[in-house]
Symmetry: C2
């Protein structure tokens, strides 16, 4: 079989002739971005062939000059019958870019938002019982006596006790004079026995909250005996190399093998994080006996190995919204195999358990009757609007612009990303701030918003996002109908070349913000109220963390309402999962919220397209909706 | 490692020095009787060493003459550092002795006793649903729509749906316009989904009834769509070579390895039988989705891999009486892995689910208010007495005499066993009938009863079971205090030597029958009524099949009451399991019966010892209890 060598890593793999280079990278363990899922459309899996025979049809996508130098798209190139050496370029913003924070990150959990922290009814309980010793007279078996203890307070319930628990029961009950600790999961109608151990083991009792994002995965270790968070860790979802957004992942998952690959990939990320949080706190994986997992509907399907195909196809019907309780063993999570796993319920194909969990957190701090808006902005934007009487929700596809996708020098919010820019009104020159403070290497989502807001306020771009053709600036380069803006000149850049923003980039950001703003408009129109009626806006998710409200309002991403109405709630998905882990009241409320939410499908609504078109300007075609922006920009023009 | 060769089979095995020959037989797959569980007390694992070094302490048990010829007990002999060749004698009545019948045996099931055969609520149901196609408007997931179909008739219930079912759900619901067959197990409070398949698959739906006896295992294949029995097969329990009775098995099971061995052994027997019944009827193992298993408490513990030790130790407390529903996968039964397995509930350490299941059958034909007695006689005798108001039960250890154990020429009820004997009153000479009609090779339990009854009626033995020292017979050989009786002379025997009965054999049978009769007395005394109050006596189990009522009454094994009150119910344990498999009403009644039964422990009762002593005569010390025997023997003496 022909062998493929990858440079500069030195990794190699033997493959059968006809294998695509993209598949070869996966088999060799070489990480490679393929945001489109490998169908040749994104052009990101570019590699250079140093030697060997190959067959490619990358030409239509790559310029001829690149092809002459041996550049090909890995997904469109097949290995023939001889060894091939492939050079994989080091890309900016490549997977593995370090997270700014890693452990115990403040913004991950606003612990004060969890108002109900009384321990006592976590998803899985550890209860200490003294089981009477066996008696000749009563004829009760070991399980009978244990059951009587468990049922003491209540009516007769269905008891599920796996045979693996029964096998150690006799010894456990006779070990310490009947003193045992029972690990138990109680649902409304039945009890599931996870373990029975001799002695009092209630002090060490742990659970996990897991947030499975399309891009990042967060795992939080919680002490269930004290309802305290011990550690939080995040990492990139190892599925990233199979597609950047949920649609690409669904495309990638078109065969059972691919689905299994995606399942294994996200499990490896989760299990690695578990090892880290547990190892750092001397917790054995066996001592973790419950987990609550939140994620969007596609992520949940891929985690469970379900076919996500029908999420993408009209009428957008997922296999499951409310997943029955599962065991860690059947899911593949490396904690106690009989642990119970609760998956946060989803509402629609594009409003998942992450939103339900997040709303739980917003809901728990907003018990008033006023209208509130919950937004989670990322590649997809999910919105919930409502009060105690109703909840409606929708999702919109913002595209990858806010995560650096489709932007010439876009990148994720990693070290070196430009996150903030000040534009000199007179010269148009930008002064930038990067994440980590080092040399700039690219522009992340909040950096793009900052740039657009600044350029618009200073009049260097117009309401359509076009650079001024009347005023001249050393950093705006006009070339006929095309124009671009130099954010950082080559000599100050850490990317080896100038960092620029093109009009195409600006268009992409405007499209993304229009998708979100028009979704908000749609929801409000649906319930027949105006923007001014919103009492609180909860902004959730990692993207919101770097968001400058004033700038976001300036470009028309979010409504122009009093700034004090906005509240950033961090990774509310993870927090909601954590809340559901420790408290029955949260679990019940989460289920109730998911059932109360009415899902509005925007994909098939002509009115949404109308609203969207209106929002394709800075900040909007209807300036009455953005009074503060109008005031500020008139002022700007005056000076 | 030294090698052990077994002759005449030619099997061999490499073992570490110090391994016992008994363990070596098991490792090599050589079947070997060790009724005592290998503690050197039964003397049955006798072998002859042909060559090689060994160390033995069999001398105290085997006569010196045997030791000189190289005979040793395999359990008391260790292999040293060189190869050993061992001759394993072909024993009469050895495991593998053929069953008289094998398939579709009449006596296994008295189908007419199953009065409630309406299909419709088997343990696992297959239901055909038409699930509505997905709609954009309703926002229902695949599982939501399925759940609504399942719940249509009733309230919201807990739905358990393993992830393996979810994985194929989307395709199943879209395969045949929503036409699916759901395999479902409904309990009082929850539904468990075993499978969802496209189309109508309700016609092929199968279940198993299994009777796990200490000696034999019976498996019955049932069509759950028609509630009809398709096939029944029986085989020896492969645990036999680890001990003949439950106490020996418990002794054998003293380490986790041994417990695992016993579990694997009985599973191999069950799974072989499943392959046979299914294969003969073109049923795939995957089409079998429910099983009900009945067996004594020890058999159930060993099947599930539970430690049976505490069954044997005061206060005789098993791990479990009512086993929660399990899956075929966790039990190790080779049918659909998600099949539900119901274990028939037991009552006490020595009154198991086989008795509960059997009583279910007796109860279903005896709805009257009169007192009835249910008896299952084997190595252990289990008794239940009661009516609609009360049920009390006990167990007694009859010892292995009725199964041929502890009897010089005893054997199981296999081909060549003497099952019936007529004694010439004048000469004392026996005319025998064998199972299968061939040359006699030994005496089975019913043969012993027949011999004793005949010898007693004709006056050749007295009420204490001693041979007449006053009359002489050519077949009674008196040697001082010892005497024996030649049943079959050497030249007519198929065993290569004369078949005899010793006074010691007779003593063993008298002890066995006394154990059972005194247990009946005890139960009646417990409720304060006399023998005459018994309306019906149900005799269950394989042993009862060959039992001659008149002879059994003559020796005092069962009460001397009108013969028409006796009813033989066959393998009622298997039938009860079958009933529970096909009908909810049977399952509920079985659970109710097991909970209603009061277990009386005889082991610790001084009164039982008193009753037992009184029964150590033919038929009893109190002849008033056996008026018909008294009449017949007076008559006999007259002629």
């Amino acid at each position: 079989m022909p062998k493929v060598f990858f440079q500069p890593s030195g990794q190699s793999v033997e493959v059968i002739a006809g294998t695509s280079l993209l598949d070869a990278t996966r088999m060799a363990g070489v990480e490679m971005d393929a945001p489109c899922g490998g169908d040749g459309s994104c052009g990101q899996c570019i590699v250079r062939i140093d030697s060997g025979h190959y067959e490619t049809d990358s030409l239509g996508i790559l310029p001829e000059s690149a092809a002459k130098k041996g550049y090909v798209l890995a997904c469109r190139t097949q290995v023939l019958d001889s060894a091939v050496t492939v050079e994989v370029p080091e890309l900016i913003g490549r997977i593995g870019g370090k997270f700014v924070e890693d452990e115990d990150v403040d913004w991950q959990i606003h612990a004060d938002l969890l108002t109900d922290q009384r321990p006592g009814e976590p998803l899985v309980e550890k209860i200490q019982y003294t089981v009477p010793q066996p008696q000749l007279e009563d004829g009760l078996s070991d399980l009978d006596r244990l059951t009587r203890c468990i049922e003491k307070d209540g009516e007769r319930r269905e008891l599920n006790c796996p045979v693996s628990v029964l096998r150690s029961l006799a010894e456990a009950l006779r070990g310490e004079d009947g003193n045992v600790t029972v690990t138990l999961c109680r649902t409304t109608t039945s009890d599931y026995v996870i373990d029975v151990e001799p002695g009092d083991c209630t002090a060490r009792h742990f659970g996990l909250a897991v947030d499975v994002g399309t891009t990042t995965v967060a795992v939080q270790l919680v002490s269930l005996s004290s309802a305290g968070v011990l550690a939080t860790r995040t990492d990139y979802n190892a599925q990233i190399s199979c597609g950047l957004d949920v649609i690409s992942r669904i495309n990638y998952a078109r065969t059972p093998d691919r689905r299994e690959e995606l399942r294994i990939r996200v499990l490896s990320t989760i299990n690695n994080l578990i090892r880290k949080v547990a190892g750092n706190h001397d917790v054995k994986s066996d001592e973790i006996r419950a987990a609550v997992i939140a994620g969007n509907t596609t992520m949940m399907h891929l985690l469970l190995g379900l076919n996500p195909e029908y999420i993408r196809l009209e009428p957008y019907t997922p296999t499951v919204h409310e997943v029955p309780l599962l065991s860690a063993e059947e899911v593949g999570i490396h904690i106690h195999p009989r642990s119970r796993i609760l998956i946060c319920p989803s509402v629609g194909s594009y409003v998942g358990g992450d939103i339900t969990a997040g709303l739980l957190i917003a809901n728990s701090v907003d018990e008033r009757e006023s209208l509130s808006l919950f937004m989670d902005i990322g590649t997809n934007g999910e919105l919930v609007i409502g009060n105690h009487d109703f909840l409606i929700t929708c999702a919109c596809s913002a595209g990858p612009a806010f995560e650096g996708g489709g932007i010439e020098h876009g990148m994720r919010a990693a070290l070196g990303a430009i996150e903030q820019a000040d534009i000199d009104p007179a010269t148009g020159v930008a002064t930038v701030r990067t994440i980590g403070g080092g040399k700039p290497v690219g522009i992340c989502g909040s950096g793009m918003i900052s740039l657009l807001a600044g350029l618009y306020r200073t009049g260097w771009i117009d309401r359509a996002g076009k650079f001024s053709r009347t005023r001249s600036s050393s950093v705006i380069r006009i070339n006929g109908r095309r124009a671009h803006y130099v954010v950082v000149p080559e000599d100050e850049s850490g990317a080896g070349k100038a960092i620029i923003v093109t009009e195409l980039d600006i268009e992409n950001v405007i499209r993304a913000k229009a998708a979100i703003y028009s979704a908000i408009s749609m929801l409000l129109q649906h319930v027949g109220v105006g923007m001014e009626r919103i009492g609180t806006v909860f902004i959730a998710g990692g993207f919101g963390r770097f968001l400058d409200l004033e700038q976001a309002i300036t470009i028309g991403l979010i409504p122009d309402i009093p700034r004090e109405k906005y509240r950033y709630v961090g990774n509310s998905s993870l927090m909601g999962a954590s809340g559901a882990l420790i408290s029955r009241r949260y679990r019940e409320r989460m289920l109730e919220l998911s059932r109360r939410m009415t899902y509005v499908e925007l994909n098939t609504s002509p009115e949404y397209m109308h609203q969207y078109t209106g929002a394709l300007f800075l900040p909007h075609t209807d300036m009455d909706l953005f009074p503060s922006v109008r005031a500020a920009t008139s002022q700007g023009k005056e000076c």
